[in-house]
């Protein structure tokens, strides 16, 4: 069985994002970019399934600018076998991504897609679900545990108040939650070897996908500054402030 894992190049999670002066988005020029952490978990899970002998090949896909090849190289250093880079403008929308992945699916015929549940830049949490819908496949989202056996994938889903275990027929789409696994480091020897693994570059138009934007960003702003607290001298003063200043009682 072949597994396809889409990976996204995003602003590194250690970086405090800075909103552009014109409020059109966050500053990305010269900012450290790396693989979306949920996608790292997805890659790790796919590689583990390959190491267990469940999967035969792990293919990673990224849709975006040329520099996304660094992200793909990282995924291959973690253990993916080959990569496909689909060139488009930076940060395409989830629906466009899902359509590209559908086209990739027709080309690659995978038995399983594993995606990160969401990307940390736009927090959309949509691509996996849209992909399953477009393909007409079953989906196991927010996976905290994944088992593949007998043509089905068992997924423990992290839901409010606990977990929900479901079983989905393959082919299927799984999205990875935070506790699914702890991704490995890409070791230096593996990074060196990853330079020699195959990477195919395609253009989104070649796949016949309409990448036009359907969403408009109205404005991006930083969260308001939190006001400093005050110390009160007595219970009476506290009650007075809650009543007259905060107006909550």
């Amino acid at each position: 069985m072949k597994i396809v894992v889409p990976v996204k190049r995003v602003v590194d999670y250690n970086i405090k994002p800075r909103v552009k002066a014109d409020g059109s988005g966050v500053e990305t020029t010269g900012v450290k970019m790396s693989m979306n952490p949920f996608d790292e978990i997805a890659v790790e899970e796919a590689v583990r399934l390959k190491e267990k002998g469940v999967a035969s090949e792990v293919v990673v896909v990224s849709i975006g600018v040329q520099q996304a090849q660094d992200t793909l190289r990282t995924a291959m250093a973690m253990g993916a076998d080959r990569a496909i880079l689909v060139l488009s403008e930076e940060s395409p929308e989830p629906l466009a991504v899902a359509k590209v992945l559908k086209a990739i699916s027709e080309k690659e015929q995978p038995g399983l897609f594993i995606l990160g549940k969401q990307a940390i830049d736009d927090d959309m949490n949509a691509t996996g679900q849209m992909l399953a819908g477009l393909l007409g496949w079953g989906q196991g989202t927010f996976a905290g545990k994944v088992d593949v056996a007998d043509g089905r994938v068992k997924v423990s889903r992290e839901i409010d108040g606990g977990t929900e275990d479901i079983s989905v027929a393959l082919p299927a789409v799984v999205t990875a939650d935070l506790r699914l696994n702890e991704p490995r480091y890409a070791s230096l020897p593996n990074i060196m070897k990853a330079r020699k693994k195959p990477m195919e570059t395609l253009k989104a138009e070649e796949l016949g996908v309409d990448m036009a934007r359907r969403l408009t960003v109205v404005s991006v702003a930083e969260p308001p500054q939190r006001q400093a607290g005050v110390k009160v001298g007595s219970v009476g003063e506290l009650v007075e402030k809650l009543r007259n200043e905060a107006k909550v009682i």
């Binding site: 250690n14 800075r18 450290k32 490995r184 480091y185 060196m192």
Partner: protein, 545 residues
Amino acid sequence: MSESVRESMEFDVVIVGGGPAGLAAAIRLRQLSPETSVCLIEKGSEIGAHIVSGAVIEPRGLAELFPDWQDRGAPLNTPVTSEEMLYLTESRSLRVPMLDRLMPHMANHGNYIVSLGEVCRWLATQAEELGVEIYPGFAGSEVLIENNRVVGVATGDMGINKDGAQGPNYQPGMELRGRYTLFAEGCRGSLTKQVTAHYDLRKGVDPQTYGLGIKEVWEIPAENHRPGLVQHSFGWPLDDHTYGGAWLYHFGENLVSYGFVVGLDYPNTWLSPFDEMQRVKLHPAFRKHLEGGRRVSYGARALSEGGLQAIPRLTFPGGALIGDSAGFLNVPKIKGTHTAMKSGMLAADAVIEAMQTDRVEPGSFTQRVKDSWLWEELRTARNIRPAFAQFGMKGGAVYAALDAMLLRGRAPWTLHFKHQDNETLKAAALCEKPNYPKPDGALTFDRLSSVFLSATNHEEDQPVHLRLRNPSLWKTVNWDVFQAPEARYCPAGVYEVVDEATAPALQINAQNCVHCKTCDIKDPTQNIDWTVPEGGGGPNYPAGM
């Protein structure tokens, strides 16, 4: 411990450090000899992640490396258009007249205000296009020496947990073996320390003296932005025995680089470079530039100030020291990028020659340096910084002006450094406590909110990379005599005294470390050993730094 399982890889040249020196050497090697395999490792998570500099740079070194640097799109976008040198008193500032005659080193005509991190990122793309293999996120932790020859370096093991055992994500380090190894770690490199000790490279030269630079980048309202403006200051708030001053550069898109350098030979144990840096922003001459803006990043790094007299032997069997690992900074010019790049290029020339003639030591590097403009520059500048060390700030300034106007750097004498920076501190009882204002949250800030902006991060579960050689010395020397100077000179809040009133003890918050190396330099008994943490750790400076 893990030698048996370590993989190894052979290269012609291994370069440790992805700053201007290492990248220039790598580029030059491939330009001269495209079949030479060159591997460059960098402990930062990406090239540029650990680069902090003002920076006004002289394009001379870059222009020799790439005569067509402008067509190639090198990010030198803000030419210096005007400059001022200010002498500060507490509330006033006096502009130094005839700057180009009194302080000719400070003349910045033809220079550019840049983000050195951006320049390095750009150099790295050029190097990769030439076929240099660059591996950021891997720290060289061990020099490989066989038969008294350096044969490469080993990267550190990853995934070792706090108590030294292998964690679930353990990956052994890797040996990167090279016919020649160039150390380009910047000031006070941790592998450079090992090589210097092994080959006794500092024998017969002056002790190296250092400075600590602390920097902030601000975004200011467009109407106040004057791209190309360079402002330096000396005087207040430092006393006559403390070398240092502030810089402020307007560059890029509404950005201002502000920072402060303190000579680490300062005597007052109560001095806090961080707080000095913060309070200069309140001076009218600086406040007017920053008010209404917001701080976007923060960083710190030590720099070598010893100049010519403190340059060690540059080569050893199997390699050489380049850039600020050797100490090629020109102090009166406060510039080291052009000299670092030049030294990297000259070392590349020497390595190619050694390779062709099958010599173990790239020994012609030293002569090449002595025959170059780099040496001439450092030679004429050699007496300025030691004059400040010997005659104080006012005496040093007078000497510098005389040197510039009358001697033009050709004095028949050479002034020397007499002390290591760790020997200059005075006991707490003999020093006067400065009175630093509380941070106002608008112009001035505390250490922790500053460190946050450096985006520094270290894998939490790893051994502490700042080691006390003798833990008991802390109480008897650092605390009893000097009242914990490390809590003040560390710009990242790494060193913290706990239980001050009852049983004072040192707490090391190694996760905060921004890799400036000051503790390795200034600790009174050199009891603190800065070793590399797991690769990829440390600050993540954004473009602009």
